[in-house]
């Protein structure tokens, strides 16, 4: 009985989860005319792609670190507010606005005649091209990821037994010591989830680099999009995809939370 009803689900799992991964691996060994080859892997391991991968990692790393630096204190502050669910909602609401719309807004803000430049001008500074730069790329990415990072961190801070913090004061800890010796260690799980949620997508953002970075930032995502949709070289695109999957698995293993490992 339960098998019959679960059939669509199992079918989904085979067709949309397992099969696509294998197809991608299979395609990564194909050249553009459909012959089996190792050429794609050879090309990926060439200096150009390695450079691009390192580049992509570097940007993903920067984005993750900056997002974390902003989000951790933010989550901490919210967890101490009286109406914390309300303030959390305020932080979450922007995520319901389509990501493209928000990116588009930054085109206006950062543009050469945009508001940021007119502010700079008022202070007697030179107009600078903020849009189509790695600065724009990182700013917009951080903007997008902050709420996603805040949520898991807030949840884990909020889940800490208040008595533990009282206990640390009781044992002589200052507020700072309570933060560094109790709250931060006990919210690491949330930080890990936040890093997962940020780092992996940050490796693969392609529309951001197209729209606000003016292709100055080439990520693994940009490469995949380019190979699949512009060059129509699905084999090379799949090869990059396979590596992206490997990196993803690696990040997942590194940031694996306790609950998952049991």
């Amino acid at each position: 009985m339960k098998r019959v009803l679960a059939l669509p689900y199992l079918l989904w799992m085979v067709v949309f989860v397992i099969l696509p991964v294998f197809l991608m691996i299979y395609y990564s060994f194909n050249d553009m005319s459909g012959n089996l080859t190792l050429q794609n892997y050879a090309e990926f391991l060439s200096s150009n792609y390695i450079k691009m991968t390192l580049n992509s990692f570097w940007y993903a790393f920067l984005i993750t670190v900056i997002t974390l630096i902003v989000s951790y204190p933010l989550a901490l502050v919210i967890s101490r507010l009286k109406h914390k669910t309300f303030w959390l909602l305020i932080i979450i609401i922007p995520t319901w606005i389509n990501i493209l719309l928000k990116t588009y807004a930054f085109i206006g803000i950062l543009g050469i005649n945009g508001i940021l430049n007119s502010v700079l001008e008022k202070f007697g500074l030179m107009k600078i091209q903020l849009l189509f730069s790695d600065f724009a790329f990182i700013t917009v990415a951080v903007y997008i990821f902050i709420p996603f990072m805040v949520l898991p961190i807030f949840n884990s801070i909020n889940g800490i037994n208040k008595n533990l913090i009282w206990a640390s004061y009781d044992l002589g800890a200052s507020k700072w010591e309570a933060l560094t010796k109790v709250i931060i260690p006990l919210s690491l799980e949330g930080v890990k989830s936040g890093i997962q949620i940020t780092f992996i997508p940050a490796l693969s953002l392609f529309m951001l680099s197209r729209l606000v970075a003016g292709n100055k930032v080439v990520t693994l995502g940009t490469a995949i999009e380019q190979q699949f949709l512009t060059n129509e070289n699905w084999g090379m695109g799949s090869t990059v995809g396979v590596f992206l999957i490997l990196f993803m698995v690696f990040v997942m293993l590194v940031t694996r939370t306790k609950k998952e490992s049991i």
């Binding site: 197809l23 303030w87 995502g221 992206l244």
Partner: protein, 261 residues
């Protein structure tokens, strides 16, 4: 709550809302750009409504979201019940891991691999492929939203139902499903959000002139600034804000009522 953390919170909230309000502000600009505000107009709202192509895209987006979330909820519901009823720990954790693959995968990977899949099965790129893709990435989300509510209910419930002579079918339809309605609803809503918000997957698997709002905005934005986008964005923001606050105050009241009784 000291001044430092208060001002930090304020700064971040301004940072998060500034772009959205910025868009909204210029949606009323007769000047036609996002640089200098020249005068107030509702022209762009009018032109959105009159723009047949754009309205089609909006309708497409809503239709794709509703259809894909509906299917995903049904598939995901039975998937979740199936996972819930599995006894062997190893099988269960393997299936759960497979379930989560699409949640953690970057959008480009999902988009690219589904593009390959559809081309192999000869599915024409367009509305069908987009809906299928949206069902594909919504199913695991629905499962994850429903599973906790299954585990929350008293496990003796199923035993009691069996004990009272219910068949397996009845246990599922008369006992399990009515008990997890909120979880099912939450799953559907979550699937809806993911679908409405998706850009990358749709971008990969769409074709044949079929477009959703995200893809359309991307195309428009690459062509340059048009204040119609601002108008759409403002409408979406107002809708989201209204729904969020209604939701917050309704659930807040519920909690408060629950406390006093």
């Amino acid at each position: 709550m000291n001044t430092l953390s208060r001002s930090f919170l304020t700064v971040i909230i301004i940072f998060l809302y500034f772009p959205i309000l910025y868009l909204a502000y210029y949606s009323f600009n007769t000047g036609g750009s996002m640089t200098s505000f020249e005068g107030f107009t509702l022209d762009y709202y009018k032109s959105v409504i009159e723009n047949k192509a754009l309205m089609t895209v909006i309708m497409n987006t809503i239709a794709v979201a509703l259809i894909s979330s509906g299917f995903a909820t049904i598939i995901g519901l039975f998937g979740a019940i199936f996972l819930y009823l599995i006894r062997q720990k190893y099988v269960k954790s393997t299936l759960l891991t497979l379930n989560n693959v699409l949640i953690v995968s970057p959008d480009v990977i999902i988009g690219a691999s589904l593009l390959i899949l559809f081309s192999i099965f000869g599915i024409k790129l367009g509305s069908t492929s987009v809906i299928l893709a949206h069902i594909a990435f919504s199913v695991p989300i629905v499962v994850l939203m429903i599973l906790p509510s299954l585990y929350q209910q008293n496990s003796n419930l199923v035993l009691a139902a069996h004990d009272l002579g219910a068949s397996a079918f009845h246990v599922v339809t008369k006992v399990l499903i009515p008990n997890i309605k909120p979880g099912i609803f939450a799953g559907f809503l979550m699937a809806l959000t993911y679908s409405l918000d998706d850009f990358a997957v749709t971008f990969f698997v769409t074709g044949n002139g079929f477009s959703t709002l995200s893809v359309e905005i991307y195309a428009m934005a690459r062509r340059g600034i048009t204040l119609e986008i601002n108008a759409i964005s403002t409408v979406i923001f107002v809708v989201v804000l209204t729904i969020s606050f209604i939701y917050y105050f309704v659930s807040d009241k519920k909690i408060k009522r629950g406390k006093t009784t």
